[in-house]
């Protein structure tokens, strides 16, 4: 057993999938299953570039869109 800090780990696929789905939902109101293909095409690239760290910004964006729509 040892203390072993990790570096350059890949992001898990589910995180990127869910984050992209939420982002697309925020941007265009797609149902999640409709964008799955599109999501998956982008997964590989994101796994390498690490473009998404956490899905939180995407969820915030989705919430902002919903709030704007409710207020409109």
């Amino acid at each position: 057993m040892k203390i072993d800090p990790k570096h350059n780990l890949k992001k898990p696929k589910y995180l990127i999938g869910v984050a992209l789905a939420a982002a697309a939902l925020a941007a265009g109101g797609f149902a999640i299953h409709e964008i799955k293909e599109e999501v998956m095409e982008q997964v590989d690239e994101l796994l390498h570039t690490g473009g998404i760290v956490s899905a939180e910004p995407a969820f915030e964006a989705a919430e902002a869109v919903e709030t704007t729509e409710e207020n409109a």
Partner: protein, 354 residues
């Protein structure tokens, strides 16, 4: 605000890994009154977690605290939430009905088939059969219950079968924690046994997921959902900020491992919170130095001061076993998350409660 109340230092069990000294010291009714007042004195919510020792040795104090809190909640409009962490052996019909009515969240400490290896009475008696009966009673009453299971080096070879038992008893969720503290020694060999058990648990969770069963096992389930939601598990309690522990005599401490340590004293329910010390504590950085640039830092419990104190004696030093455990659990959770996600995203999103 949230308070954890040490109703008593006494316990009817003598668990092999327990780090609490047992004394016949109980909280007074007056201290309970002051604690309830403090819980309602600030913040938008009031919460009390009954703890010990074994809190159900002091059922009268629990009922008294709930009565007071209920009254305060009606007067102030502040919502109140109660929880208990109990060894379960003293649960009866009256308590189960009350817990259901009060929406109390019950942390039911039950080690499954490892129970009699580690969790025996003062006199050395077995508790497994009794606990199975108590579990059924809670399920029959529909109480909001999570089974809390401790895996010790000696008994962890039975962890997987314990998880299956907890599921079969009808619990919707369970939490596994490795035994930590000075009564426990993990070796490379025993840790490998634990790893093998977790592998089987992850496969079992996948099997249940495929069948549409929503049984959840932390830490596997929550390592996935926390990553998606951007929640850092180390920031949950943030020593002394989100909650405080109240010792039997009314003194305040940041959390459960700090009780009776004068250097962590934060005031008392009688004199109020020492805000200067509390702020000083909040400003201290508890991230252990090896963790500062680790990719898993935001997913790991490295800055849980309580666990660190138990393992290393210092709130900002991580133990090798904890690092090993966190890395194992996170990597298994990610494997499981990817397998679940591959079965369809909508189902995955529902299961993770997003």
């Amino acid at each position: 605000m949230n308070l954890t109340l040490y109703l008593t230092e006494n316990c009817n069990l003598r668990c092999s890994y327990c780090t609490r000294e047992k004394h016949a010291q109980d909280m007074s009714r007056e201290t309970v009154e002051k604690a309830v007042e403090l819980a309602f004195s600030r913040g938008k919510n009031a919460g009390i977690c009954f703890f010990g020792g074994e809190p159900l040795l002091k059922k009268d104090l629990i009922y008294y605290a709930l009565e007071l809190a209920d009254e305060r909640s009606r007067q102030t409009g502040i919502p109140f939430l109660s929880k208990i962490t109990t060894n379960g052996t003293l649960i009866d019909e009256e308590f189960a009905s009350m817990a259901k009515r009060a929406n109390m969240q019950i942390g039911f400490s039950f080690d499954g088939t490892m129970q009699d290896d580690c969790r025996r009475t003062k006199e050395g008696g077995a508790t497994f059969d009794l606990m199975v009966d108590k579990a059924r009673l809670l399920m029959e009453h529909g109480c909001d219950t999570v089974a809390m299971c401790v895996a010790s080096p000696e008994a962890c070879g039975k962890l997987f079968e314990s998880v299956k038992l907890v599921h079969d008893l009808g619990f919707p969720q369970m939490i596994i924690n490795p035994a930590y503290g000075d009564k426990v020694t993990w070796t490379d060999e025993t840790f490998e046994v634990l790893r093998g058990q977790f592998d089987q648990i992850a496969d079992y969770m996948m099997e249940l997921y495929q069948k549409g069963d929503k049984f959840k096992v932390a830490p596997l389930h929550n390592k996935i959902s926390e990553l998606i939601k951007g929640i850092n598990p180390s920031k949950y309690c943030h020593l002394g900020i989100r909650q405080l522990a109240v010792s039997w005599d009314g003194n305040l401490y940041p959390c459960t491992s700090f009780l009776d340590k004068p250097e962590w004293y934060l005031g008392s329910v009688y004199e109020g919170i020492d805000e200067t010390r509390r702020l000083e504590m909040a400003k201290r950085c508890f991230t252990p130095s090896p963790c500062k640039d680790c990719d898993l830092s935001a997913r790991c419990t490295n800055s849980c001061g309580c666990a660190n104190i138990l393992n290393t004696g210092s709130p900002d030093m991580i133990a090798p076993v904890q690092c090993e455990y966190e890395r194992m659990v996170i990597s298994l959770a990610d494997r499981l998350g990817d397998e679940m996600y591959a079965m369809g995203d909508q189902r995955f999103i529902d299961f993770m409660g997003l």
